[in-house]
């Protein structure tokens, strides 16, 4: 043991406590809804696919649980050709808007 270690306390318990508090707050909220992410992914893909041709393999969903907020990140790769086609369709189907 050197002199430095006398001053450097190994306080890992507060870290454990904080991690548990954040984790359990989410786990309690999602009890019985363990498939939430899978359901979200299916429904979001379905909505997008209604308008744009997308590759189901190119959709990534990430959840970062934090305190006070969590983030849900949805990354959908849309081929440029499909996006342009979808935009054209929308232009045709929508009435012209007077500016």
């Amino acid at each position: 043991m050197n002199l430095l270690s006398l001053f450097r306390r190994n306080n890992s318990a507060p870290v454990a406590r904080e991690r548990l508090q954040i984790l359990l707050a989410h786990e309690r909220a999602f009890v019985g809804k363990s498939d939430l992410l899978a359901i979200l992914q299916e429904e979001i893909i379905a909505v997008i696919a209604r308008h744009v041709t997308i590759d189901r393999e190119k959709v990534q969903i990430k959840l970062d649980r934090g305190d006070p907020i969590s983030t849900l990140e949805i990354d959908v790769e849309v081929p440029s050709v499909a996006a342009a086609a979808a935009l054209r369709r929308m232009d045709r189907s929508m009435p012209a808007v007077a500016t």
């Binding site: 890992s12 318990a13 406590r17 548990l20 309690r28």
Partner: protein, 272 residues
């Protein structure tokens, strides 16, 4: 009126079986009629911890399936005659337990004993759910360690939803038993302390069992710690927990080891 108590935790290896044996023995030592029931079908160990492994003839599965009568399967402790054991089967699997069979056995045990203490298997599967199914109260055994606390939180959720009492809209009494606690390390901030765990799990504290050499020694020789070494710190903590189960109000403390001078000098306990 009998009390059915489940000793549960979610996580394995935190001290369910040790605590079942020690609390059961402590209650029996105070004159109560107690049966400890092993629900860990296929991985029974309560018989070994109780020192009754060579006396098992019939088991819980035999009684559930009607192959044996309850009195044939009950093993009375040789040291305390108010303490009995209903062992689990070592050869069958959990699917042999039926909900109706378990209900019938538990209600038969209620007639005979003051306390029916069910030692739950680890996990949240069928065996664990059946062990808690007919409980009036639960002892949630937790180590001051992140994975154990998380699993205890999950088990508390199951106690509030999957037990017969919860389904009837009643509250099941839940008690926290903090085991393998090291007050020195907790004091130094190296281990979750009692307040941390209580704040996270928010169920009342039944007792704090300090990490103790006597617990391993007791299971080595097949004697619950409250019988084999009743003055040890762990045994005193279990005795106090048993008194709280009976409704007494006692301030929760962490009993300390009583060390001899030689023990202090050489850093280990003198052999009693």
């Amino acid at each position: 009126m009998a009390t059915v108590l489940v000793v549960t935790s979610g996580k394995g290896g935190v001290g369910k079986t040790t605590s079942t044996a020690a609390l059961g023995a402590a209650l029996a030592q105070s004159g109560q009629n107690v049966v400890v029931v092993d629900f860990d079908v296929g991985l029974r160990n309560l018989d070994l911890v109780m020192g009754a492994e060579r006396r098992v003839v019939f088991d819980l599965i035999n009684v559930v399936q009607g192959d044996a009568k309850l009195p044939q399967a009950l093993i009375r402790d040789k040291r305390i005659d108010t303490l009995s054991l209903l062992p689990a089967s070592q050869t069958r699997d959990k699917d042999a337990l039926t909900a109706e069979g378990v209900e019938r056995v538990i209600s038969e045990l209620r007639e005979k004993f003051d306390w029916v203490i069910c030692d739950s298997p680890a996990g949240i599967e069928r065996g664990a759910v059946l062990a808690m199914r007919h409980a009036d109260a639960a002892v949630v055994v937790t180590n001051p360690e992140v994975s154990s606390v998380r699993d205890s939180d999950r088990i508390i959720g199951l106690l509030d939803s999957k037990t017969a009492k919860a389904e009837r809209g009643e509250r099941i009494d839940k008690h926290l038993l903090l085991t393998r606690y090291d007050p020195v390390r907790a004091g130094r901030g190296e281990m979750l302390n009692t307040d941390d765990v209580l704040e996270i799990l928010s169920i009342p504290l039944l007792g704090i069992i300090p990490e103790s050499e006597d617990v391993l020694r007791s299971s080595n020789i097949g004697t619950p710690v409250t019988m084999g070494n009743p003055t040890s710190a762990a045994a005193r903590a279990y005795f106090e927990a048993a008194r709280r189960l009976k409704g007494e109000t006692l301030v929760v403390t962490v009993p300390a080891e009583r060390r001899s001078l030689m023990g202090r000098l050489f850093g280990r306990r003198a052999v009693a």
